[in-house]
């Protein structure tokens, strides 16, 4: 009898031990998962900040391109749309961040130690859906389905008729209404809820970046922009004998905006003027005693055009003659 009692007692203790162990193990696993979610959220926040910075850079380059296009009305219209995309995106992102901040304040600093179930604030969620719906309608008119061909000029772009996304398609990309309990289910752990909001923020910024980029390429040629024209002549010689044949090449020249180009001569940088001309000026090495009156020499010129698609480089070697200065 005693043996039987002892056996049941042992069995009871073992069962409690196993249950406790399982519970402890589950709590530990849950803590690990929440820690991972928190780390993921931190990473997403960093990405989101970078994405926001990219958007500002794109807007600045768009504004500069419009300035380079001498503020032509079609370019100004593109800039206005770009600025609207940034303003509306920032407004929406601020709302999401405010909600995230509110959740954090409710939980205190230690999210992992306090993985309380989060109640979805119905009013906040409803307001966000309304905001997203309007934003999606706005963004849909700026997002094309297919790749946009890079135009050569603003004038070329006036004939371009892209196919835009629909508002529903944009909302689907943001997963609005795709799942129940959006953006996070009521009762979800706080870390999970925060991560959901951060993912939503990242998705919005990605879409906005894409829309802004599509605006930017309307006014920015992605390669080196040859936008200066003039007629030029390259004579065979600047000095001719009386009555001799004078020869020259005459051609229409097109130069690239100086801000895009870096020019070097024999490895040394050359100042590039606004009219896209690099002014090369250097002291010719003097003739040494014993050298002939005329010495062949050459210099090497390099023009580098830097764009986000990569570098373009042109090289040339320019021969010239060093002649003895005539006695006056």
């Amino acid at each position: 009898m005693i043996k039987r009692r002892t056996f049941f007692l042992l069995l009871y203790v073992t069962a409690i031990g196993v249950a406790g162990g399982v519970y402890f193990q589950r709590s530990r696993q849950q803590a690990v998962v929440l820690e991972r979610m928190d780390a993921l959220q931190s990473s997403l926040i960093k990405d989101s900040r970078l994405s926001g910075r990219d958007m500002i850079y794109t807007l600045r380059s768009l504004q500069k391109a419009v300035w380079d296009n001498r503020n032509q009305p079609p370019a100004v219209a593109v800039r206005t749309e770009g600025e609207r995309i940034v303003a509306r995106t920032q407004s929406l992102v601020d709302s999401i961040r405010a909600w995230r901040q509110q959740l954090r304040l409710q939980a205190g600093d230690a999210i992992v130690k306090n993985p309380e179930a989060t109640e979805t604030n119905e009013e906040t969620a409803r307001q966000l859906v309304w905001q997203l719906d309007r934003y999606a309608g706005f963004l849909a008119t700026h997002l094309t389905r297919a790749e946009v061909a890079v135009p050569d000029s603003v004038a070329d772009f006036t004939d371009f008729t892209p196919t835009y996304l629909t508002r529903t398609a944009v909302l689907q990309q943001l997963e609005v209404g795709n799942k129940t309990g959006w953006p996070f289910a009521s009762g979800a752990p706080l870390a999970s809820a925060l991560a959901s909001l951060t993912i939503l923020e990242a998705q919005i910024q990605n879409l906005a970046n894409e829309a802004l980029m599509q605006q930017a390429i309307k006014v920015s040629y992605c390669g080196v922009r040859f936008d200066k024209f003039w007629l030029n002549a390259v004579p065979a010689s600047m000095v001719v004998a009386p009555g001799a044949d004078y020869e020259s090449l005459l051609f229409f020249a097109k130069g690239a905006g100086g801000h895009l180009l870096r020019m070097t001569v024999d490895g040394k940088p050359v100042p590039v003027k606004d009219n896209a001309l690099g002014e090369v000026r250097f002291v010719v090495p003097p003739l040494q005693p014993g050298q002939p009156d005329t010495v062949r020499a050459q210099w090497r010129g390099v023009i580098e055009g830097r764009t986000y698609r990569g570098d373009t480089t042109w090289r040339l070697e320019v021969p010239y003659l060093i002649v003895k200065r005539p006695a006056l």
């Binding site: 040859f226 024209f229 003039w230 007629l231 030029n232 002549a233 390259v234 004579p235 010689s237 600047m238 000095v239 001719v240 004998a241 009386p242 009555g243 001799a244 044949d245 004078y246 020869e247 020259s248 090449l249 005459l250 051609f251 229409f252 020249a253 097109k254 130069g255 690239a256 020019m263 001569v265 050359v270 896209a276 001309l277 690099g278 002014e279 090369v280 000026r281 250097f282 002291v283 010719v284 003097p286 210099w299 010129g301 023009i303 042109w314 090289r315 040339l316 320019v318 010239y320 200065r325």
Partner: protein, 90 residues
């Protein structure tokens, strides 16, 4: 318009200094009419006008005027350039 791919330089010798400009030529597919001092200049397939004339006999500074005319948006567009040179005894 399409680039010819030529990279040109223009060189002026002033005592011991070289003043050189780097730029790229451009070929206009439309019919080009080039002139030198009012006379037509032959234009090759790359859009380069071949200027050749007899220099004056009198030594000293001289200039010639080049012009290029092409049709843009249905209208004649002309660019002009004044090119200095020097006539000197060899």
């Amino acid at each position: 318009m399409a680039a010819t791919g030529y990279l040109f330089y223009q060189q002026h010798r002033t005592q011991s200094l070289l003043d050189t400009r780097l730029y790229r030529s451009y070929h206009l597919p439309q019919a080009l009419r080039m002139r030198c001092n009012g006379r037509p200049v032959p234009v090759d397939e790359n859009g380069l006008g071949q200027v050749r004339f007899q220099a004056p006999w009198k030594p000293g500074p001289a200039t010639w005027t080049g012009s290029i005319t092409f049709v843009q948006n249905g209208r004649d567009t002309t660019f002009k350039v004044l090119v200095p040179y020097r006539v000197a005894l060899p």
